[in-house]
Symmetry: D2
Subunit: 336 residues, 4 copies
């Protein structure tokens, strides 16, 4: 039994993690931290089926756990992971703190110096791309929600070299409101977000761009330029990325579809839809799946639709998948 501690359990990702771990046959939540609600019980803070005491960070018993999950703001997350490492506790970090490869990129996107640059060598925990690197490691960088959808949607094409090298890939992405976090803000007020749909940080300004281009470039073995345009959807959860990829003009849909089916044949959480089907949120919400649809819009232009649940495959589900790999369990344990 893996003994687990959760930091940030009252956030949406932390809560979802606690919920799915409750059903996990080989892991058990020993304690949970909520700095803002320490001393209360979870059921008092979040109406729902879960209940447990909430600790402050300085109250935790490091000896009692084998692994922590950190659902914390960047900066704080790295410090908590570093603390865990001192105690010999493994960590899976749901923030961005371990994702970028070099400190300069981190400073560019997050506006401050990385507090523990030595942690940046943690492997990037997207199992479908990087499984071997995750076994038995001390720490894993859990990928961002948008990047997960984009990377799974593009990997076969880029690995195969079938895209038009050097041309810009346009990513029109949309996310449910839980992706923006649980802290109340004006634009997340029910009345403002409901019956609305709004772009934000479009162009080259969203923090996920650094992560997306870093990982896409590894897949392509060449620099990849993207335009990334996120939008806020009036849903609780779910991400759909509609990706416009310039490809070799002679490629037909049958070949591309076959490539994707083959690439993901052994993947339990990637669902390449039948030809003609398009991915939607309904395919994936409340699952750890990524659904992928493929459309040849015109010769040389492929549209990939890639959907995930931002709280599961985009955060907590993938974190559990990473835990399973880290500890040598079957990868789907507790995720069906």
């Amino acid at each position: 039994m893996i003994r687990v501690g959760i930091f940030g359990v009252t956030g949406y990702a932390g809560y979802e993690l606690a919920r799915w771990l409750q059903r996990h046959p080989s892991a058990s939540v020993v304690w949970a931290v909520s700095e803002s609600s320490a001393g209360k019980r979870l059921a008092q803070v979040v109406p729902g089926p879960l209940d447990m005491p909430l600790l402050a960070a300085n109250q935790v018993d490091w000896q009692a756990v084998d692994l922590i999950f950190t659902g914390l703001p960047h900066g704080v997350a790295a410090q908590t992971v570093a603390e865990a490492r001192k105690h010999g506790v493994k960590a899976i970090d749901l923030s961005a703190d371990l994702r970028l490869d070099n400190p300069a990129a981190y400073t560019r996107w997050y506006d401050h110096t990385h507090p523990h640059p030595e942690l940046l060598n943690a492997p990037y925990g997207l199992p479908e791309l990087n499984r071997a690197a995750l076994v038995d490691v001390p720490a894993i960088a859990n990928p961002g929600c948008y990047p997960t959808s984009v990377l799974l949607g593009l990997a076969p094409l880029l690995e195969q070299g079938w895209w038009q090298t050097g041309q810009t890939i346009i990513i029109n992405a949309a996310s449910g409101v839980s992706g923006a976090g649980r802290a109340p803000k004006q634009h997340l007020h029910f009345v403002e977000a409901h019956e609305n749909y709004s772009p934000y940080n479009i162009g080259h300004t969203h923090r996920h761009v650094g992560e997306i281009e870093q990982e896409l470039s590894k897949l392509a073995n060449a620099p990849v330029n993207t335009i990334f345009a996120p939008h806020l959807l009036p849903t609780q959860r779910g991400i759909l990325s509609t990706i416009y990829v310039p490809i070799q003009p002679e490629l037909d849909l049958v070949s591309i579809h076959a490539l994707y089916r083959q690439r993901y044949a052994a993947e339990p959480f990637v669902n390449v839809l039948d030809q003609g089907q398009l991915a939607s949120l309904a395919h994936v919400v409340h699952t750890n799946d990524c659904a992928i649809g493929l459309t040849l819009a015109q010769p040389g232009m492929l549209i990939v639709t890639a959907a995930i649940d931002n709280l599961l495959k985009g955060a907590s589900g993938q974190a559990i998948q990473n835990m399973n790999i880290m500890f040598g369990l079957p990868e789907t344990t507790g995720l069906r």
Copy 2:
């Protein structure tokens, strides 16, 4: 042309007021106050079709207006109305500050002494019950949203003496989220309110109970006891009150329906639905109407369904209706 000033224009009621006044042929918004956003323009603060400069309260030109609307928290509202009266400016107050008849009741429900008890003699602005008292007065208490639906739903029955005197009337009410105001709060976060439906302040604890029972008792000419149970709906706007009224057991639905139709025959904003129809939000949102449905559940028990748009007939639309009466205009001006 009535020259209008609005206090609290960035709130939901204030904004709706500004929007409907824009189309009003005989009134014009001269200035608008937003204490929290003074110095900005409205379009910077609220994405939408309106734009105008936002003033601080101490910047306004009292000479430039004939009338103010106050969409402010209780306490502050009374002080602003008092200030307007000093300058000879009329006022329609959308807060609760002018609604109760005596200062003790105010203190009981609002936890502080009324700053200007002399204002409590302002008439209660529910035109369908109280029209004559509203002409040419200096100030009007604009009714609460829940009370409007309840009073219009019950008036014919209580005036006629057809209810079972002394028995408790149960009011199960539900409101869209805009009724809770624009300030961001945890339970108003999109993710918490969406796909949710939650009772709050049920029993005898919601502040509207004082107002409801005060006005119902006037209609009945006897004390009226209610159970009031409000619920938060996952909609932007709309109120439906489902009211369970013990009535004389010999009454049939035909007579009751005829009574309501006759009582409201001349009312432009009350729509007594056909027998068998039930009121819903769809009947009224984006209108100043109150829709009323009548069901005889069993002998002696009538169920009234009464729906309004909480921002219109429950706030800003009714405020304009009151303005029209106050200034001698046709009552429907600018409201169709």
Copy 3:
């Protein structure tokens, strides 16, 4: 391993059943019937994570299963259960066909003669009230969604005799749209149901009234009269019943709360909330729980708020709970 067949798998309850059975460690779906989509695969008909072939009713292999679940219209359901019995296959029926105790009541509420009145002796599968009667039986009547919330919300009070015998209990209930079924209808169109909230069949006309009063009367050991007023909520799922119960005037909330806590102390799926908390959909959606809140509105008048997920505790979750009991498994198997 219990070998299961599902009738009506493309309906909302049938699909949810298939989804939860997928994670059940001791049951396995052998085949699934969809009369309207026979010959297709499930993933073609319902976008989502599940896939399996869809059979016509006359194609099924009765030898291959130990148990069927019937998510079918009334009338057809009874015929299917009767067919299962002929083959020695057990049945849990999610329709209303097995719920009423006598054929006359069935005819009154469902407008046709019961095709198999001998099936009406199947026990009523609300485990918290009736557990012992469900073990090893050939067929179980799975309760209706509204009745489940009402019965669990009232059982302790009625069993204890603390309500005011003979007085009417008012049930103001609200359900998400999945409760109305999957067939497209005008009032279930997204544009009509969204931003709406509408009462329907209020008074004494909803078919669940017969079931509710039959079972309440057993609990109270006396006839119980109710007013039942259901409303359609703009949510996918969830039921909240707000129940107004006349009680003995000397009872205080502490005693009542203690009674409920004690009555349900051993129940894994009933969550009596802390004093002062009210039940909401957020407490229960995507769980098999019933959350109960208790408010003493005034002396002699208790308000019970009882929430369930209509597709789980109100249908498929409860059906699995019943299966577990029927086959001697731990009751929570596959439901956490």
Copy 4:
């Protein structure tokens, strides 16, 4: 007073038209047709504030009207317009029947021969592009909802020749559910559309592509190639098009923003947002406005966000705007 007849008044566009015409000071609805509900009254068919008798098409009095609006399926619409012309009645057609310039294009996109090709010379009623051609004409083709957002979003750039001629423009568009019509269908069921977001007809297959490319090519005075990818949003109304346009690489945002501001300076219904602001549904729902935001994603790549209310500027509001022009009224009459 313009005497108006409406065909298809129970559809979403027809109803919205009737609602806004109710407030129009110089137009009046004389009769309204609903083939499917003839003989009933509007309030029986659509819960809401409007009521009027519903006629069958063969019951109308052509002498009583000056103008008809046709909110009908393609094919039927053209026949109705032709009938109106025979009676000397003007027509504004909200279907696609008058929009394409040549019969062959119509056949390609609508799969049948145009029943009245002589009607295809009706002018395309997008006043901001084509105002002069609309005065006093017998019939106007009211533009499609998606095309309206795209054309207004791109016109200044294409007219000015600032785009990269020959390169593909990518249009990622999203529409509220009312855009799909009022007939109940599985994917429009509340439960299927809520908490969902789904692409459909992406690539080059949506019928609006013909209209979009035809009109863009006129603006650019050159063939324009687009990729059009529409998505269904879980909202009642609103369209946002996020448009990716390759432009001359030396252009900066200041110049482009100035161009748009100047181009639309005199337009009452086009709102070019401040630099840095992005268009969202909240800017436009329940108005006849088009809001436009401009972002330079990287040198040579402009992202235009263009939002409209699909039922107003995308249908009925624009139809009234066209009526105003057709009859020589001030263009904003009845639309503020």
